[in-house]
């Protein structure tokens, strides 16, 4: 029986949502509430949360497992550097332009890597990101393989004092995270999102029920690119420099992100939040262990996949806790009875097709 049918469950849900709203308000009031160090950590948190939202949308819903997310982060970083330091554009104008450039790079990338599917696509995106990194290391004016620092005058456009800049970067990263979560939520609530949720649960069935799988994947892939690019801009502002190995870091922008999503719960909006909190707590206590920290993270994620593939939020769902951020469309009871019957005759046909598609590649 659903926990939500009890009064206690409903109160619990209301409390959880109120906490979520309160933490958003606290985040907006961050510059007055938190010290500079906390704001810096939170800036990083919001950047990683944005990346996790994007990876979760692709891997958890659209069935695009990418190991090449760092490519677009790096493109955003390098685009921002090029537009400000080399083309001398206004820094605040360069931020949206960097997002547009990341999207423009995503179009041809998608055209190439989408020729591959599933596991092949995953490694294909990795190759694409490697190519972007190697090309970035060859661009004139960007400091080659070792990278270069962002000129001071550009940094000063975000505030004349160090503390002022910390605040501006904090608010920028908060805005990015809110935009990322908000627009992902709108996307999932839309007609496309309905198709995405169907794809998450059963791709073949979604396709046979009329979801345009390819178009949906294309939309999702292009949707993530500007956010990844903007995350790259923030990373550059935090580190005050670009370098191929750091701006295109697979560890920082993809491996950590995968841990966050897997631990929190893939295929849900709540998962990346939970995962990001867990990740930052683990990092706080374990980062001193160096390589052991990564070994522990790897072990945890393997255990999560083997024990509960839907992560911490998957366990919560099993207890009957409904979505804190509602993405479902509720239908009336009458149509809910009719739907399974309408689909019953399609089941054998689907099973038959599956046996054909399983032919050997040997």
């Amino acid at each position: 029986m659903n926990v939500m049918d009890t009064a206690r469950g409903r109160i619990g849900l209301a409390v959880a949502r109120a906490l979520l709203a309160a933490s958003l308000l606290a985040a907006i009031a961050g510059p007055w509430l938190f010290g500079a160090n906390q704001q810096t950590v939170l800036t990083e948190f919001f950047t990683l949360l944005t990346l996790a939202m994007m990876w979760n949308l692709l891997a958890g819903y659209a069935d695009i497992i990418t190991v090449g997310q760092q490519g677009f982060v790096g493109v955003g970083a390098y685009a921002f550097f090029g537009l400000t330091a080399l083309a001398h554009l206004d820094a605040f104008l360069a931020v949206p332009l960097a997002a547009i450039i990341a999207t423009l790079v995503a179009i041809p990338t998608m055209a190439v890597v989408f020729r591959l599917r599933t596991a092949y696509l995953a490694v294909g995106t990795w190759v694409a990101a490697e190519v972007m990194m190697l090309i970035a290391g060859k661009l004139p004016g960007f400091g080659g393989g070792s990278g270069t620092s962002l000129p001071i005058p550009i940094v000063k456009q975000f505030g004349s004092s160090v503390l002022g800049r910390v605040e501006v970067f904090y608010l920028l990263s908060l805005a990015l995270a809110v935009m990322a979560v908000g627009s992902t939520w709108i996307l999932l609530r839309s007609r496309i999102g309905l198709g995405l949720t169907a794809m998450r649960d059963n791709e073949e069935a979604a396709g046979s029920a009329g979801v345009d799988l390819i178009l949906t994947r294309v939309i999702c892939f292009l949707f993530t690119a500007p956010f990844l690019g903007l995350a790259g801009v923030l990373v550059t502002l935090e580190k005050l420099r670009v370098a191929p190995s750091a701006s295109f870091s697979i560890t920082d922008w993809t491996i950590y992100v995968i841990f966050i999503v897997v631990i929190g719960g893939i295929g849900s909006l709540e998962g990346p939040f939970i995962g990001a909190v867990v990740f930052f707590l683990l990092r706080e206590y374990l980062a001193g262990f160096g390589t052991w920290y990564l070994i522990i993270l790897g072990t945890i994620s393997i255990l999560v996949i083997l024990i509960e593939p839907r992560g911490i939020w998957g366990v919560c769902r099993k207890w009957g806790i409904p979505d804190l951020i509602p993405v479902s469309h509720f239908r009336r009871a009458r149509s809910a009875v009719i739907r399974p019957l309408a689909f019953a005759d399609k089941v054998p046909a689907r099973a038959e097709r599956r046996s054909h598609s399983r032919r050997s590649a040997l």
Partner: protein, 287 residues
């Protein structure tokens, strides 16, 4: 000039044999279990370190130690599939990808913790520097030997899959695990045997690689990408195709390295991406 280019081409073809060895195991796991082992390259590096540790402890040639370690490599592959990867079978592509991804991180950092970040290389003795002239080109004896090992491995695997009863079982399970289970094959066991064979191919690659090139704990991913590109270029599921793919990658690297060192890998990836646009089903396909 002509001589330089000819030499580059020949070196490229010969190192293609090494890439074909990397790709062979990946191709088998893709064809039978239908997953990409993200940790494939890291397992090759792990094999090289184990080889190094055992060879230096015993003071024996790495080739002898490599041969002795083959049964152990089979056992590791078998157990890995039986007790870890098998748990993800039938749950789609994501769980197995993420598990091997986690393994990759664990192996890389485990090696870093145990052996440190230094670059290593094993000494293979006199064969390493021996070479002979053939017309305009110089051919190293060791690269030639690795190329022959690659041909023998592909031929051996081809024979195993298509001429033996174990191979018939593997192909049956690859075709349809549920039907194979129905006629009395235990697909879990057959998968584990296939992964054991992948383990053997990884040990052979590790042995060939560790004497030929430098290695450190972080180079696994680049080996995985080379293996993956060779598999896709050669055509999915084609064993001899991995040799073609490996050669294309080797030649692209060698020609690229003429521009400058960093073009070596860029040329490799670009050739792969261009081929993917024009020949998505592999270079040998009709379109």
């Amino acid at each position: 000039m002509l001589q330089t280019i000819l030499n580059l081409l020949v070196q490229g073809v010969l190192i293609g044999g090494l890439y074909a060895l990397f790709a062979l195991g990946l191709s088998l796991s893709l064809g039978v279990m239908r997953f990409v082992n993200i940790a494939h390259g890291d397992f090759i590096v792990l094999g090289s370190y184990v080889l190094m540790a055992v060879a230096s402890a015993l003071g024996w040639s790495p080739f002898v130690v490599g041969l002795l370690l083959i049964p152990a490599a089979f056992a590791v592959g078998y157990l890995l599939q039986r007790f870890l990867l098998q748990r993800t079978v039938g749950k789609g592509i994501l769980p197995v990808l993420l598990v091997t991804f986690g393994l990759s991180i664990i192996i890389q950092n485990g090696l870093l913790e145990t052996f440190g970040p230094d670059t290593r290389k094993l000494s293979g003795g006199a064969i390493e520097i021996a070479a002979f002239h053939l017309g305009l080109v110089d051919i190293g004896l060791y690269p030639l030997a690795v190329f022959l090992v690659a041909i023998a491995s592909i031929g051996g695997l081809e024979y195993l899959l298509y001429r033996t009863s174990v191979g018939a079982r593997i192909r049956a399970v690859a075709d349809d695990p549920a039907a194979a289970d129905l006629i009395g094959l235990t697909s879990a066991n057959v998968y584990a045997i296939a992964m054991g064979i992948v383990g053997v191919s990884i040990m052979v690659s590790a042995c060939c690689m560790s004497v030929w090139t430098n290695f450190d704990p972080a180079i696994g991913p680049s080996r995985l990408l080379a293996a993956f590109e060779a598999v896709v270029l050669g055509g999915l599921g084609s064993l001899w195709g991995t040799l073609v793919g490996g050669i294309v990658i080797g030649v692209a690297q060698n020609l690229g390295s003429q521009i400058d060192a960093s073009w070596q890998i860029l040329a490799q990836h670009l050739v792969f991406l261009v081929a993917l646009v024009f020949r998505p089903r592999g270079l040998l396909s009709k379109g």
